[in-house]
């Protein structure tokens, strides 16, 4: 052991980024290890999206609505990822015995959460792209070639806010313990409904749409639809610039929220001894 060179250990910002990439790694690599997942993660959800497409066809909806469903269906990948692989993850890590090792290590917990997010984003991104591409090809969705830069901006801001929310939820769900599983279930279909995954959120009425806007995908999806489908500009809930502004506020809110929740949780956990207890 003495033959090894003396160790240099990174601190501060460098340690933060090292931790981020180290935690993202298992997510990105893990998804390539079980190829069968890809089938369940892409083909079967695509069939689900197709179901909604045919409902619109059955009631003779305008063609853009089929595009709405395909885009919304693709975005479910990110929502499911945030619910099941972000929000509930710390709880599962606790169950597996990883959480205590994360806490004992000098790598900051915020970096670990960010690493989880980046890894999850890549994984869910693959699923979303497959649904989007195959769905568009199968159902002949026509996109407008408007502002690509704006579209990328909306997507980026939405993802930052969404995964910031996931990071915050991770602490909240950890505090909720076993109930986390039920919370994830609760936030599935009801959020698909409130956030307008399969129809323009404006249809939910002003107040529901406003309240649902706390979920970053609500406004993100609405803005993306406005940019991708220009046949009927009145379908948007708010104008794109306003939606981007609100999403930026959500980014700041969720990321700061995640930081404070995490510290609070660690403090309570250390005081009450709940960071490491396992219950079945």
């Amino acid at each position: 052991m003495s033959s090894l060179p003396e160790l240099k250990q990174a601190r501060g910002f460098k340690l933060f980024w090292q931790t981020v990439w180290a935690r993202a790694y298992p997510r990105i690599v893990g998804s390539t290890r079980e190829v069968s997942w890809m089938f369940f993660e892409t083909v079967l959800p695509l069939l689900g999206v197709a179901g909604y497409v045919f409902v619109y066809k059955a009631i003779n909806a305008p063609p853009d609505y089929i595009g709405f469903v395909v885009v919304g269906g693709a975005m479910t990948a990110f929502w499911l990822n945030v619910l099941w692989s972000m929000a509930s993850q710390l709880y599962w890590d606790k169950d597996a015995g990883n959480l205590e090792l994360y806490i004992v290590s000098p790598g900051p917990m915020m970096a670990i959460l960010l690493g989880m997010s980046i890894g999850g984003l890549v994984f869910a991104g693959v699923r979303a792209v497959v649904i989007l591409v195959l769905g568009s090809l199968l159902f002949g969705v026509v996109y407008s070639t408007g502002s690509l830069i704006l579209l990328v901006l909306v997507f980026a801001v939405t993802m930052i806010a969404l995964y910031g929310m996931g990071m915050m939820f991770a602490s909240v769900f950890l505090a909720a313990g076993r109930e986390a599983w039920h919370l994830s279930n609760l936030f599935q279909e009801p959020i698909y409904l409130a956030s307008g995954f399969y129809f323009p959120v404006k249809a939910m009425g002003f107040w529901v749409a406003t309240i649902a806007s706390i979920i970053p995908l609500t406004l993100g999806l609405d803005a993306m639809r406005q940019l991708l489908f220009t046949s009927d500009p009145t379908l948007g809930f708010l104008s794109v610039p306003i939606e981007i502004a609100v999403l930026l506020v959500l980014c700041v809110f969720f990321i700061t929220g995640a930081y404070f929740m995490l510290n609070k949780l660690e403090e309570i956990g250390r005081r009450e001894g709940r960071l490491t207890e396992r219950r079945r």
Binding site: M1, S3, L7, Q9, G30, A96, E100, V104, S105, P106
Partner: protein, 345 residues
Amino acid sequence: MVENNLAVHTEDVMRIYKLRGPKRKEDPREIIALDEVSLDIRRGELFGLLGPNGAGKTTLIKILATLLLPTSGTAYVNGKNVATEMREIRHEISMVSGGETSGYGLLTVEENLWMFARFYGLESKAARLRIDHLLEVVGIADRKRTKISDLSTGLRQKMNFVRGFISDPKIVFLDEPTLGLDVSAAREVRAFIMNWMGDHPESTILLTTHYMAEADELCDRLAIIDKGKLLAVDSPRNLKHRLNQDVVFQLTVEPLGPRPSREEMIESIPGVRQVTVTEVAEGTVLQLILQADEILSDVLAHLTRRGSSLIALEKREATLEDVFIDLVGRGLDVDTSHTAEDRDE
């Protein structure tokens, strides 16, 4: 002010767990896991905490590893307060527990170790060098590319060891490190600990165990803990020396018969300090700590009166188990987590 040469220093550390959802009024509401524990561990020591399940060993480790706050009292690791300076402490410690299932099953041994090494700020290349080296030392270099879900318990624990030592920590907390391992794997793990201490004379290991032989073999000093209280702190040799004036006999008898009244019990014979009784296939084994050799004849006469015949008799050196029995009046294989009500009795 904490002395410079102390790796661990605790003052009157108490830890009380509130129990959730007691059903009836008489059900206990809290458990005292640590009861005014004051302890000093010097740098470079391999220090053992010896006690039965539920004695408070893991709780103390959790407090020192910054996972848990003491209910009252203070604890310092390398001179830093666990309650307020946990971020600094985390750069200097690591922890390995027996029966750990940490890591991600889909990743290989190397990938899991690399991930944790990065959490400790190691450069990628340095991490890989260290992983190769340590896997070689623990004898699982050929499993480097095996997914950890495919490892046996013993191999997984060796991997956990590599994880715990990869960052050259100043203080390592080993919580029952050989739990669930077979004899040869446990021996290899103990050899690894000894070698590592030899190579890192400035580092400190705090090890908890309920295996007497392990504590005896490994530790420079050890503390005997029961029901959250420290009962004795000394080197294994000195602890055993306490019983040097006494003699230890092991008797196998048949039959011992039903439990007699208090005044007819062996303990009532003058000069008998402790008795433990274990049933085995051949009969009943009695471990006796006596103040002098002569008292044995009184014990044998007592047994004859009770109709027991002697099958075997052995006089032996005192062990840590005897020390434990002498201190607490029973063996180590009993769960002793206790409640506030017990304490009040």
